[in-house]
């Protein structure tokens, strides 16, 4: 399986996700934002975390219009897999690949802490190695992760089962306390209609080793790799 990690000026978690993908067995190539094509044979595109363009306009707004994003949109339209983490999720929303927007956290502060998520479904390329309803222990690190959408969009996401993860407690219960950034319906990540694009605020790539906090993030990368037949 081949992954392409798009690097924008101001991306800063690209190394973290490259490490996690490689550990799961993926080949990985970094792609500069000015490129107009993805490497041949790209199975998965990853938009990493960071502060693309300093987040100076709206988070992800400038990156969402980068040259490489046309290639990413075409890849998604062909049914190719796209994963946006944190700033990557913001970029996906700004580029029209996912609905809604990430607003400032409810407490108006950047927050970095360990966070449990409930896996809403395990029949997608991203989550097949998890159990449905499983609580996974990952982390968040963002100032603008407060998922917000209009009523109709929210209804559609819920109705079509497009919510990927919700902020939860250790038992997988959805509680007010667990939803620290104030996201609507405790949404931590959503899928596109065809389930091939996932945007999520939390960082599974930082929880892939027991030495560094835990391994609950591995499942996501292993799910992706296991979705593809091994190269001969």
């Amino acid at each position: 399986m081949k992954s392409a990690v798009i690097v924008f000026p101001g991306s800063n978690r690209e190394g973290d996700v490259v490490r996690a993908l490689k550990m799961a067995g993926s080949q990985v190539e970094k792609v500069w934002h000015a490129e107009t094509e993805l490497p041949k044979g790209t199975d998965l595109v990853v938009l990493p975390g960071g502060f693309s363009y300093g987040d100076y306009l709206r988070c992800g707004a400038i990156a969402g219009r980068a040259a490489a994003m046309d290639a990413v949109r075409a890849h998604a339209a062909r049914g190719g897999l796209v994963l946006g983490i944190c700033n990557g999720f913001q970029i996906l929303c700004e580029s029209g690949l996912l609905p809604g927007i990430l607003m400032r956290n409810a407490n108006l502060k950047f927050i970095c802490h360990r966070q449990f998520l409930r896996v809403e479904r395990n029949d997608t390329a991203f989550t097949r190695n998890y159990a449905k309803g499983q609580a996974i222990d990952v982390c968040v690190a963002h100032g603008e992760g407060n998922y917000t959408a209009d009523e109709e969009t929210l209804k559609r996401l819920e109705g079509e089962g497009l919510v990927a993860f919700r902020y939860a407690d250790a038992q997988g219960h959805i509680t007010q306390d667990a939803n620290r950034n104030g996201s609507m319906n405790s949404i931590a990540g959503i899928y596109s209609e065809k389930l091939n694009v996932l945007g999520m605020m939390p960082h599974p790539e930082n929880l892939v080793e027991s030495l560094v906090g835990g391994t609950d993030g591995r499942g996501l990368f292993e799910s992706l790799v296991s979705s593809f037949p091994k190269a001969a």
Binding site: D16, G49, K109, F110, C112, A141, H203, E209, V212
Partner: protein
């Protein structure tokens, strides 16, 4: 002959922070009246912040060498060898005055400046730490300052992409008018790819890189070298504005350029901007420097030579390039969207020549600007010795348990989670120990090694006895690194003191430095970089003497480490080190009894070393996983922190005869550690300790959901945690 448009009046000289005799010295040096640009340049070079004129003679007493030291003080940052061809490059620096005036930008640019110091040397930053002191919580400005400083540190470090893994936050009325914001950065480079400021070769191009020059920060370094008064807030325009995005691009562009082999010398534009960086490069390389300011990328129109030379606009670098490699270098910088301009060249004249609009605006001897700066041996008086307090004379609390509950929820001892959750401490995926323990641990690349990092000092000890306080600051950093299993290697010091022109505060500086030097020698823990911040006072009220120590240690196998959390029930709790029940200057005395007196605990450096080496060996052999040093609040607070971190209680049954219980529990005797181990192993450890003459005694056993102190005084861990976690968020929400 150089044209002089502005008459240099005594008022103008004074405005530039130069004393009349310093100005005279300068006039004698150049043999004529300076131009306004030259006056600006010399004021930037000869202020306290850049010239170390009051501190220099005392700094010479610090040990700066060891076989593993590659570069000691005098460069952008210190460099130590950590094996496998890798070097650790680190430094700590203050941004106190700007942060008081404009907390968000002041703190943000403090972080930016120290990160730049580290990557200027070719290192990729892998961790940031800080040391913060604020005024008393009831002071009307404190909440605003805490909020702004913390947001500023996070805002810069998070966007830049470096994990902020550790630090220290405290409150005291002595910082009401002058807070401390010290930022530390730690980076990694290959030992054969380290870059220095020393220019070489005549006629080589001098290149300006990074953001454009604006009018911000003019005279920042001069402001940092003056005392504060009511009018200081009018100095807001001298605070720079940070752009972490530009800095991230500058990092990537610089590292890429360094790899290309084009860089001869590099210096970041920090305090005193273009002036200081250019003079340093030339003076270190025994070369002259000629700059053409028409080529400097400017943000604003009509900037004068004076303004350009003194601007402290952020995210800028100066480099000497190999001739012929300009094109290649420019391409790299343009890829990252950054400015690149050849603005001058090295010469063999040893002159610092500034041209602007076809005119020479300054022509100064470059070596003398640095070397001939005034050096003062300022008068100082020794701080009066405080009496040793007999523990039996200190009143016992109504209950030790209640006293402990009060301490865990006090401003200084409470959890600082509210602060460090605003810092991305997990990015890069190498943070093995997060904030809240004795020292942070970050893995080096993919392992197996790791670094242990900490910032420490106990200012009230330093005030009561500068020599012992200086020793203790170093010893505590050494101890915190040891407590996680690290071998302490070197320190950076950030020496925050009041006005050197008052003999009492100069005496504190001299005393602390002697203590730091003595401890560094005894513990093989040299100083490799640092920063001196004097004039930390407002309206004549000085801060507590605060020589913050940033310590770096090495773990050969990062998976073999210790943390403070109790990990299992039924483990024996062993105290390593001797206890006399030292209550002078203790947190108990201050926060429970309302007394701030007495001599601070002395540090026996030989014992410190012996005890620490013993504990480190226990960790490294895999026998011990749970360790916490005893510092503020003594054994009681250490136990509470271990219980809270692990959600496991403990019962303390043993304590020595002849010592009041509160002195045993809250005394702050130095050189001590608490460890928790399997009961089978405990006997061996006690035996081993006894064999080498290290005091070790079993205090009790872990288990249950309460901390039970002698006399069956129980507090539930839940209750401790509630108090510990509540204070800071409540305070910041206006509730406490």
């Amino acid at each position: 002959m150089i044209r002089n448009d502005v008459a240099i009046t005594p008022e103008l000289v004074k405005e530039h922070g130069l004393k009349p005799d310093e100005y005279e010295r300068f006039v004698n040096l150049i043999g004529r009246e300076p131009t306004i640009t030259e006056l600006g340049i010399v004021s930037a070079m000869w202020n306290e912040h850049c010239s170390y004129k009051s501190s220099r003679i005392h700094l010479r007493g610090l040990p700066t060498k060891a076989p593993w030291v590659i570069q000691g003080p005098g460069e952008n940052a210190g460099v130590i060898d950590i094996g496998d061809g890798l070097a650790c490059i680190f430094k700590m620096e203050s941004h106190n005055h700007p942060s008081f005036i404009e907390p968000y930008q002041g703190a943000a640019t403090g972080v930016g400046g120290i990160l730049r110091d580290v990557f200027t040397m070719g290192a990729r930053p892998i961790a940031a730490l800080n040391f913060l002191r604020f005024g008393e919580p009831s002071h009307p400005k404190t909440r605003h300052l805490v909020s702004g400083v913390v947001a500023g540190i996070g805002g810069y470090g998070n966007s830049f992409g470096v994990p902020t893994v550790g630090g220290s936050v405290g409150f005291d009325k002595r910082y009401n008018g002058n807070i401390l914001v010290n930022a530390m950065a730690v980076g990694l480079a290959r030992t054969d790819e380290i870059f220095y400021a020393k220019a070489t070769g005549v006629g080589n191009p001098i290149v300006y890189l990074g953001s454009k020059t604006g009018r911000d920060g003019i005279h920042g370094a001069t402001m940092a070298s003056a005392e504060f008064d009511e009018s200081s807030e009018e100095k807001r325009p001298t605070v720079q504005v940070g752009d972490p995005f530009a800095e991230k691009l500058l990092l990537e562009a610089c590292l890429e350029l360094m790899k290309s082999g084009a860089v001869i010398a590099i210096q970041d534009m920090g305090a005193a901007g273009l002036t200081s960086s250019a003079v340093e490069m030339g003076a270190k390389g025994n070369l002259g420097i000629e700059l053409d300011l028409d080529k400097v990328p400017c943000r604003e129109e009509g900037m004068t030579a004076y303004e350009m030379m003194l601007s402290e606009s952020q995210e800028r670098m100066l480099m000497v390039l190999k001739p012929g490699m300009e094109r290649q270098a420019e391409a790299i910088f343009h890829k990252w969207g950054l400015d690149f301009a050849v603005i001058g060249k090295t010469t063999d004249t040893l002159r610092f020549v500034i041209k602007h609009q076809g005119e020479v605006k300054a022509d100064l001897p470059i070596k003398e600007l640095g070397d001939e700066a005034p050096v003062y041996d300022r008068p100082w008086v020794e701080s009066p010795k405080q009496p040793v307090i007999d523990p039996a004379s200190v009143k016992a609390p109504m209950s030790e348990a209640e006293a402990l509950l009060k301490l865990v929820g006090s401003p200084d001892q409470c959890s600082k989670r509210w602060v460090w959750e605003q810092y991305d401490h997990l990015i890069l995926g190498n943070t093995v120990q997060v904030p809240g323990g004795d020292a942070a641990i970050v893995r080096i690349e993919d392992g197996p090694k790791g670094l242990a990092l900490t910032t420490d000092v106990t200012p009230r000890y330093c005030e009561a006895d500068p020599f012992e306080g200086g020793k203790q600051a170093v010893a505590e950093a050494w101890r915190n690194i040891t407590a996680v299993g690290g071998l302490p290697l070197a320190i950076t010091d950030n020496l925050n003191f009041a006005s050197p022109e008052r003999p009492e505060s100069m005496g504190q500086f001299v005393g602390c430095l002697k203590g730091i030097g003595e401890a560094c020698r005894a513990l093989d823990f040299p100083v490799v970089s640092g920063n001196v911040s004097l004039y930390n006072e407002t309206n004549g009220q000085g801060i507590l003497p605060t020589p913050a120590i940033g310590g770096v240690g090495l773990l050969d196998d990062v998976t073999v480490n210790a943390s403070i959390a109790f990990k299992a029930e039924g483990e024996a709790i062993i105290l390593i080190g001797a206890t006399q029940g030292w209550l002078g200057q203790s947190i108990y005395l201050r926060d429970v009894c309302g007394r701030e007196d007495g001599a601070p605990p002395p540090v026996d450096l030989a014992q410190e070393k012996r005890n620490g080496d013993f504990v480190r060996q226990l960790i490294r052999s895999g026998q011990v996983k749970t360790v916490h040093d005893c510092s503020d609040g003594g054994i009681a607070l250490a136990l509470a922190e271990m219980a809270m971190a692990g959600n496991v209680g403990a019962e303390i049954t043993a304590y020595p005869d002849g010592l009041p219980l509160h002195a045993f529990l809250f005394g702050e005797d130095q050189g001590r550690y608490l460890i928790a181990v399997d009961e089978d192993v405990a006997a061996d450890i006690l035996y081993e300790a006894g064999a080498v003459g290290i005091p070790a005694v079993t205090l009790g056993i872990t288990g249950g959901d309460s901390l039970i102190l002698p006399g069956r005084q129980a507090i539930s861990v839940r209750q401790l945690k509630a108090a510990h976690e509540a204070w800071l968020p409540d305070y910041m929400a206006g509730k406490a």
